[in-house]
Each structure stands twice: as C-alpha cells, then as structure tokens.
C-alpha cells in the first residue's frame, strides 16, 4: 500500500495521535516530572489495563456490539484466582489459568445469549455485569482482603526486554489483535458483520460463530487485564473494575472506531487509551484541583474527537 493510501485510511487515527502529541508537549512544558522515562513507564502501566480491555472492546464495537460487563469480568478473574490460590492453596499458575478460563467462558455466554437469545448486547452485557459482580461478591465475601504471593507481583513490575511487563503484554496483545483483524477470516468477518450483518450472512459467514468468538475474545482480554490488575494491586478487592466499561468504550471511540460498527483500528484504541492515561497522569502531576479534573478530562476528550472529525 502506498503511503498516501495509508494516510488517507488512518486520517482519524493520525489526528488523534497529533492530539496526543500536543497534549504530551504541553504537559512537558508544565511540569519537569512529566516527560521522564520513569513517568512515561508509569503512564504505560496506568494505561495498560484500560488498553487491554479496550482491545477486546474494539473487536466487540467493530462487530456493532457493546460489552458493559468488562469491569465485572475483570473482577471475576481476580476473585476466582484469589480464592483458589489464597483460600484453597492452589498453585498461582493453575489458579490463574482456571480463573482465565472461567472469565472467557462468561464472555462466551454473553455471545451466546446475544446470538441465540436475541437479547440486545447492551442488555445482555449489562445483565452479565450484575451477575458477574454478584458472583465476585459471593465468592469473596468471607475473605475481602486476600492478597497474592510476592512472586506474582513480578507481573506488575518485572521488566521484559527493558520494559515493564504490563506494557509489554499490552503491546503483544495489541499486535495480536491487529493481526487477527487483518490476517484472519475471523477478523475480516468481524468487520463484515459490523458493517452489514445480512450481507455478511449471505456471503457465507457464520454469524453465530463470529459473534460468540468476538465476545469470548473480549472476555479473554478482561481476564488478562484482571491478571495485570491483580498484580498491580496485589490483592483481590471485590469492587475491582467498577466503571471500567465507559473508559474502555471511550478509548475505542476516541481512536476513531464508530459505535455503529463495521470500522475501526487497533492503533486508534492504543492512542485513545494513551490519551486518557496521559491526561489523567498529567493532571495529577501538574496538580490540578481534583474538582477541576473531571471537567478538564471531559473537555479535552470532546475537543480531541472534535478535531479529528472536523478534518474529515
């Protein structure tokens, strides 16, 4: 593909990137602490969970769906892993794997109910948000303060190829998701059902399989985000992940993926998640009054998106 086509194709992402760069430059002038290697790693780590969940959400939104259960599914992984490991003494690797499996299964149930139950994705995943949160509360009720073994915390801070593991994992997942979208039938089919489900069906695409796979993958991303969360906090708070759905969706949409499906790019979500993390981190660093923060964050996001659209 020629550079020109690439640029035309990714216009919105490029402008979002320009907004990100502009915000970074402004913040660098406002605080000497902002543009330091250490702080950039911090931003990366702080962005990682939202980004990983956002990558699954990207798939879901491209398929013209939505997943409100992401925060609860993240908590589900953490709690199951904690109960197995801390209460039942199961090895952390096995406990983690079982927790991931259970979460992926919950994601799959989302897909099945949406596909075969014909329940709108909004309601299905809202229901799953409640059910999974309830399960988390139930299984952790006796032990609200479980904490993970020291070695496990490596996941939050350990370095791989010189970069912190959460950032490394985000990069790997971002690459995998973007390869999935670009180089697999499933990925292409996700775009197809998001753009026009009937046309996709008449082109021989197995809608049920694609839809269920999409929500299952979103569940997997939540599980991986949950592992990072668990290592970052070293504990299994039952309220983990509350409110994460709106952040993840926002990252996806800031990145130029439209809620009505059929289009979207991984690079956009990466930029969106970074932009959100940079703003939040920057406002802390330059000591903006917390009461002003939500105003500033809200305004910057709207303005960034407005810019990337005005050029269309």
């Amino acid at each position: 593909m020629s550079i020109k086509v690439l640029v035309a194709d990714s216009k919105q992402q490029l402008i979002a990137l320009a907004c990100l760069v502009a915000v970074v430059i402004v913040l660098s002038f406002m605080s000497e602490y902002f543009f330091t290697a250490n702080n950039l790693f911090n931003i990366g780590k702080q962005a990682s969970i939202n980004l990983i969940i956002g990558l699954g959400m990207t798939l879901v939104i491209i398929s013209a769906g939505i997943d409100l259960s992401v925060g609860s599914l993240l908590a589900l992984t953490i709690s199951i892993m904690a109960v197995l490991n801390v209460v039942h003494g199961v090895d952390i690797v096995i406990a983690g794997s079982l927790a991931i499996a259970a979460t992926v299964f919950a994601g799959m149930i989302n897909g099945i109910v949406i596909q075969y139950g014909k329940v709108p994705a909004f309601i299905t995943t809202l229901g799953m948000m409640g059910v999974a949160r309830g399960v988390v509360l139930l299984i952790s009720r006796g032990n609200p303060s479980m904490s993970f073994p020291e070695e496990f915390l490596w996941i939050a801070d350990g370095l791989v190829l010189g970069i912190p593991f959460p950032i490394f994992l985000s990069i790997v997942i971002a690459i995998l998701v973007s390869l999935l979208l670009k180089y697999t039938r499933l990925g292409r089919s996700i775009y197809a059902i998001g753009g026009n489900e009937e046309a996709a069906r008449l082109s021989g695409i197995n809608i049920a399989y694609v839809r269920i796979a999409t929500y299952t993958l979103s569940g997997l991303c939540c599980a991986l985000g949950g592992i990072i969360y668990a290592a970052r906090v070293g504990a299994a708070p039952p309220s983990a992940g509350i409110g994460y759905e709106l952040n993840a969706i926002a990252a996806v949409i800031i990145g130029g993926t439209a809620l009505n499906g059929g289009q979207g790019k991984v690079s956009g979500t990466v930029i969106g998640a970074l932009l959100m993390a940079v703003i939040a981190n920057g406002l802390n660093i330059i000591e903006v009054d917390p009461y002003w923060q939500s105003i500033v964050i809200g305004a910057i996001i709207v303005i960034a998106v407005m810019f990337s659209n005005l050029r269309k």
Binding site: S31, Y33, T36, N38, N39, N42, K45, Q46, I49, V136, L137, S140, R141, P144, S145, M146, S147, L153, A156, D157, Y229, R232, V233, G234, A235, P237, P238, S239, A240, I242, G243, Y244, N247, A280, N281, N284, I285, E287, P290, Y291, Q293, S294, I297
Partner: protein
C-alpha cells in the same frame, strides 16, 4: 523550604468524611509547613487501581509525605512498599493496611464504632426492640468492619431482634429506598443503624414520609448533613471519627520520621482514636455554620 505532601483518599466527591479528612490535612499542613495536595481516583469508590496510579505519580514527583486513606487493606501494599523504598514517608490513615512497611498507622476502630451504634440504640430502646441495618457499599472493607461491629452489638443485646439487613451503596438515595422497602415488611421497626450519615439521613426521610418519627436512627461518620439531621431530631445520633486528630497524628508521625533520618524509631506503629458518639446533646459544637 516547605515539604511536599499529599493526602490520597478514595473519594473527594461523594463522601463528606473523606473530603473532611483531605481538607483537614491541607489545613494542618499549612500550619506545620507542609504543602499538601489532595488526591482521589477519578473512578468509582472501588477504584483502588486509581489510587495506585496516583501514588506512582507522587513517587515520580519526589513527594516527601503521603497520607494514605487506603481504599483496601491489601491492594495498596505493593505500591506503598515502593513508595517507602523511594524515600517517601507514607502514613496510613483510617483504613488499616495489611503491612508494617510504612511510617505508622492512625485510625479509628470501625468495628468498635459499629458496636457503639447498636449499644446506643439498645440504650434508647431499653434493650428490647426490632432493629435493621442499612449497609454501605457491599464488599467494601469499611462496610464489612462496621457490619461486624453491628452484628457483635446485636449479639450482646439479646433483646434486640435484627429484622432486616440490606444495602448496596453509601448514598442518601439508597438509604431512602432501602428504608422504604424495609418499612413495608417491618412497619413496627424500632431502630436503624445506617453505616454512613448519608444512609441515615436517607432512612430518616423514608421514616418521615411514612409518618414513623419514633424510630431511633443512628448514622456513622460525623458529617455536617448528619449533624444537622441530629439537630432537627430526624436522626438520633452518629458515630464521629475525629478527622482533625487523625490528620494531626499522621502528619506529625511523618515529620518525625523525616527528622529521624527516615527511621521509624520512636514512632508509634499504630494509634487508634476512639470513635465518639454524638447525640443531640453534643451536636451543637460540631455544626460549623
């Protein structure tokens, strides 16, 4: 030069007690020469990860002192260790962290407070009656401690029958709705413990709407809204935690730690302030305007 300090709480938006702790810290900081900034995660009340991010940012900024009102007993431990290692003086306030790797802990025994509330209800009812509990955010550590205190209190007063136990959030609206529903199945209710003043105020509204003004309602925290309700007679009492005192002890401990060359020698590892019962008799001294 001034020291750079920070108070990190869970919530600067909904919870007046958390806001009060933060504001008191800023005020006391000015008195003793520490420039204290207030922080809370942007997300919901359970956003522990947000607190971690804030502390990471504070380490980056070479903050000298962090007063941490931890949202969770274990979740913040790893990042607190990191901060201590980086030379930040971290004092844990209010909600007890599961670690000793910090300058000190200063707090209130939430369990004891919960029990005090039941004791007061028992006293007012003469030891006999039907009571209910309106819980705070389900699964929150403070909720769990206050609930445990309540349950313990109910055990020592066998004449009290726990008719209902419901809840979900800390808000007035939740207190109102839950109380409306409880009063449906238990119109003969005698006493209620709301685990925050917000809940108690909401419950009092429901009782007033239903025309039941003789129910003994007790809140928790010691917020202005609660005090005003006590003054009006809608709420019988609240359990006050002295934010000012906690803040003073915490900042003093941090300053001592820094003066000591960053050792904890001579600093009390834990200090508990007794929760106080505030009823109509004592309430006037706490109302600020």
């Amino acid at each position: 030069a001034d020291l750079k300090g920070a108070i990190v709480v869970m919530d600067l938006t909904t919870n007046a007690f958390q806001i009060e702790m933060a504001d008191q810290a800023v005020a006391y900081g000015k008195e003793v020469g520490v420039d204290i900034q207030r922080y809370a995660p942007a997300g919901s009340f359970g956003d522990y990860e947000g607190q971690i991010s804030i502390i990471e940012n504070l380490i980056t900024k070479n903050t000298d002192i962090i007063i941490l009102v931890a949202g969770h007993t274990t979740a913040l431990v790893p990042v607190v260790k990191k901060a201590m290692k980086a030379g930040v003086a971290v004092v844990n306030m209010d909600n007890r962290l599961n670690t000793t790797d910090m300058v000190a802990y200063v707090g209130v025994d939430n369990g004891q407070g919960g029990k005090m509330a039941v004791d007061y209800i028992a006293k007012r009812l003469g030891g006999i009656g039907k009571i209910a509990l309106i819980q705070g955010e389900t699964g929150n550590p403070v909720q769990i401690l206050r609930t445990k205190g309540f349950e313990l209190g109910a055990l020592v007063h066998p004449g009290l029958e726990v008719a209902a136990q419901q809840g979900a959030h800390w808000t007035e609206e939740e207190g109102l709705k839950v109380m409306e529903d409880i009063l449906q199945s238990h119109p003969d209710l005698d006493g209620v413990f709301g685990e925050s003043d917000n809940l108690a105020v909401g419950a009092a509204r429901a009782a007033a709407s239903a025309g039941k003004t003789d129910i003994v309602i007790v809140g928790y925290d010691g917020q202005q809204g609660g005090y005003e309700a006590i003054k009006k007679g809608d709420v019988a009492a609240t359990i006050r935690m002295d934010a000012r005192k906690m803040v003073e002890l915490s900042i003093d401990a941090a300053l001592k730690y820094i003066a000591n060359g960053k050792t904890t020698e001579g600093i009390d590892p834990e200090t508990y302030i007794a929760p106080e019962l505030v009823t109509a008799a004592e309430v006037d001294q706490y109302i600020t305007n």
